[in-house]
């Protein structure tokens, strides 16, 4: 990978490694991991390292950028370039990084507080611009690093250190926020299902443009069991829908439940008892022109509905960094590579003898 516009070559030394395929170990740093025992972040870290190896992008071409919070310690543990920045600003730093070197594979790791409280503004604008980044939002619905205050995704009524009488705030939905910001790739997955996590992250990484993945992540210490209603083994069948593009939306025992829309509202139907034909139920289409279906699926939540997981939306749109580079290329094609002498001498000039 070379970058012709950078005068300094990025590949200064010959390939020193062998041509063996990359493994997870190639992305493991020597830094001691300091998350609490049993934290869902471990699972996400393992899977991310595996996916990075699968993608076969060498570690020196990868950069992980984070903000502040438990999940934002992530870059220290991945043996790639990393930038542990300030609270909420990772998307902005990653935008500058990606624009300055579009060859890089840039990952943003953020949390519910970092990405959707202090940094919501940057998140929304990054998604709208479609900068080619992979954004992983680890949602544990709690402030962990500051020891247990409610977060913007905490449930209404949730009792925490800073809401002893119950939170009086409605939670923000990461997926619905991303859809509203016109994100081109939006998915939801969970720490407790490494296979689903891996396939979702790989799809996200292969998408060109901003990929936004909400990862439900359990905080053992301050919010244990927050996602039991959808992730616990006994709730798997009734609590979650696994979305597949082009396939009917199914859940329940033997996948015999589906959804229909009545009066603009989703309604659960049982295929064996409600007299609804198989092909009359809702099909998933992640590439639909309208984001309405994705929004409808994203809003499904217990107790009335299961929660949907997988890729809600995956559409193609030119990326910000690509468009920016196009303008640079076009300017060079039109005016030639910048001539400093001509620039400085432009306009009305005069000579003093």
């Amino acid at each position: 990978m070379s970058n012709p516009t950078l005068a300094v070559s990025l590949d200064q030394t010959p390939e020193t490694g062998t041509s063996r395929p990359l493994t997870r170990r190639d992305f493991q740093s020597k830094q001691e991991i300091r998350w609490c025992p049993g934290c869902g972040d471990f699972s996400v870290l393992n899977v991310v390292q595996k996916v990075m190896a699968t993608l076969a992008v060498p570690p020196h071409q990868v950069a992980v950028v984070s903000g502040i919070g438990c999940s934002s310690r992530f870059p220290y543990y991945v043996d790639s370039y990393g930038f542990h920045s300030i609270h909420g600003r990772a998307p902005a730093i990653a935008t500058g990084l990606k624009c300055a070197n579009p060859e890089l594979s840039v990952w943003v790791v953020t949390g519910d507080g970092d990405g959707l409280s202090i940094g919501t503004n940057h998140m929304i604008h990054c998604l709208r611009r479609n900068v080619d980044l992979n954004i992983l939002l680890l949602n544990n619905r709690i402030y962990g690093l500051t020891k247990g205050q409610y977060s913007p995704t905490s449930d209404f009524g949730q009792r925490t250190k800073s809401s002893p009488h119950g939170s009086i705030e409605r939670p923000i939905s990461p997926v619905r926020t991303a859809l509203a910001a016109q994100a081109t790739f939006v998915a939801r997955t969970m720490d407790s299902d490494p296979a689903h996590l891996a396939q979702t992250l790989e799809a996200a990484a292969r998408h060109r443009g901003t990929s936004f993945v909400e990862i439900l992540q359990n905080c053992r210490v301050f919010n244990d069991g927050a996602f039991d209603a959808v992730t616990a083994r006994e709730n798997k069948a009734e609590g979650r829908i696994l979305l597949h593009h082009g396939a009917p939306v199914r859940f329940g025992a033997g996948d015999r439940k589906g959804l229909v829309i009545r009066d603009m509202e989703p309604v659960v139907v049982h295929l064996d008892s409600d007299g609804v034909a198989e092909d009359a139920t809702l099909m998933h289409n992640a590439q639909a022109k309208s984001p309405a279906l994705a929004e409808l699926l994203a809003a499904l939540a217990p107790p009335d509905f299961p929660m949907a997981f997988g890729v809600f939306r995956s559409v193609q749109r030119p990326t910000y960094d690509e468009l920016l580079m196009d303008q640079v290329r076009q300017s060079k094609a039109r005016r030639g590579v910048g001539d400093l002498h001509a620039l400085l001498n432009a306009g009305t000039t005069w000579e003093v003898e």
Partner: protein, 618 residues
Amino acid sequence: MTTDIDTCCGLVEVQHATVRFAGDSGDGMQLVGSQFADIASLVGNMIRTMPDFPSEIRAPAGSLAGVSGYQLNFGDEQVSTPGDAPFVLVAMNPAALKVSLGDLQPGGLVIVNEDEFTESNLKKAGYPENPLADGSLEGFRVIPVAMTRLNDEATRSTGLSPSQRARCKNFLALGIVLWLYDRPVQPVLEWLMLKFAKAPDVMAANGAALRAGYNYANTTELLRVHFHVAPAKLPPGRYRRVTGNEAAALGCIAASHRAGRKLLYASYPITPASEILHELSRHKEFDVLTLQCEDEIAACCAALGGAFAGAIGVTGTSGPGLALKTEAIGLAVMTELPLVVINVQRAGPSTGLPTKTEQSDLLAALHGRPGESPVVVLAAATPADCFHLAFEAVRLAIRHMTPVILLSDSFLANSAEPFAIPDPARLPELRVPTPKADNGDFAPYRRDPETLARPWAMPGMRGLVHRIGGLEKQDVTGLVSYDAENHRRMVDLRAAKVAGVAQSIPPASVEGPAAGDLLVVGWGSTYGAIAAATRQARAAGQAVSHLHLRYLNPLPHGTDEILRSFRRIVVPENNLGQLASVLRARLPLEITPWPKVTGQPFLIREISEAIQELLSRE
């Protein structure tokens, strides 16, 4: 100017002259003002300009709030400010007259468009009586010209509509002033041909108006005299006119070009810094990436992300934006990345006076960050100096791996002067060594022993993979460290690195004798007024010198010795005494602040008053 215009006749030689064009914001005053500046430059004058436009985008026509002015001082090489008081005022309507009259020299010329002194326009300007008739302009030489009517006649034969033709009268006014100062019309006609090549009717109408104004003044003997302004003895070379913001943009491009890096300029629109973004966004062929970000914080972070990737990361702003960038600048201090922040100061605090000038962000730039957070601080002295200091800011940022704040201000941003165009090949080479991938023992915080800079290893480079962040770093390895002794060492190292920049910059030097009765210390845009006033004092035999600080942190070597060599020190600043307090904290000397916080730059006269006041103290 003391010429008695009623007893002389013919062409009178003067050393310099100050003219102000004032009219409605739609009257094209900025355009003819800058044209006049170009003509003055072309015939060899030193110039310095100052536009004054309303903060409202479209204030009601004829209102006081809608007056747009362009002041120009031109003459020999002594010209260093836009002029204390205009000798000639061109007033296109009653509001323009009312707004500007108080600034005019006693006995000055007032050229008014008498056609616009209608009852309705007089009322909009708040004149109960017509000032052209009620004797209130006694003490000035008033020259009423029927500009609207003359312009209408001159442009009638063109194919334009009456409203299009009416817009040409600024060129009629310019024609009159060109005659008054014995300047040629031909270069303006040539400029019109280029500018309106695709609109020949517009070109012809403006040209006709220009000639009509010139010929009217010539044939009616508007005055018995007209003036010839002495040319300047400027160093040989090719020149162009630049504003501070243009110059800063060019300096950034030149520096990134000489560094062989992309320039990533990230900014959020803010008065008076936006023109830097506008200018840079037009030059993508130089690998200039401009990002208009969602806010000031994002702009600073994107520039820092660009710097991490190996680009020249620059962000620009003004006071309110500098406040928002504070945390990200702290991150740049901790990660020791080269980040340039251009702060075009305006009158604050808060939104303040967005279009007025002030120098009140000095302490914010020096100290306005939590933690021990040293940065390099530079301040441009003149519009053209913005080029050199933008270049210098990049040089120091990448040589020392540190954030640099470059202070400009609203006055410099909009004021113009001749810029001696440098030969690009003779600008310093800014390439920094790329770290070598050594066998697995690359250490991101292993410092250069001379500059204490850490290596600039960019993502994408094999063998140099590392992590940085806002947590304290272990010396050399750059790993996260909570160790107390390590923190103390790193705080000291970061301070020593920035202090060591003094080795890379020129020592302090004074204009005037190296010791004496009074030292006038300035920084930033006060340069011109202080230089002129101290020169005048020395011409009058007074032992007054001028120290101008373009480097505020670290201060150049020799600063303390110079300060100690004078009996008294006065520091004129467009704030309540910020540099004075910095200098007092440094040396036990009596240092007198001389504040001006009216949103306007210092006049030469005001600095002279400070000098005489200080010299008269016993």
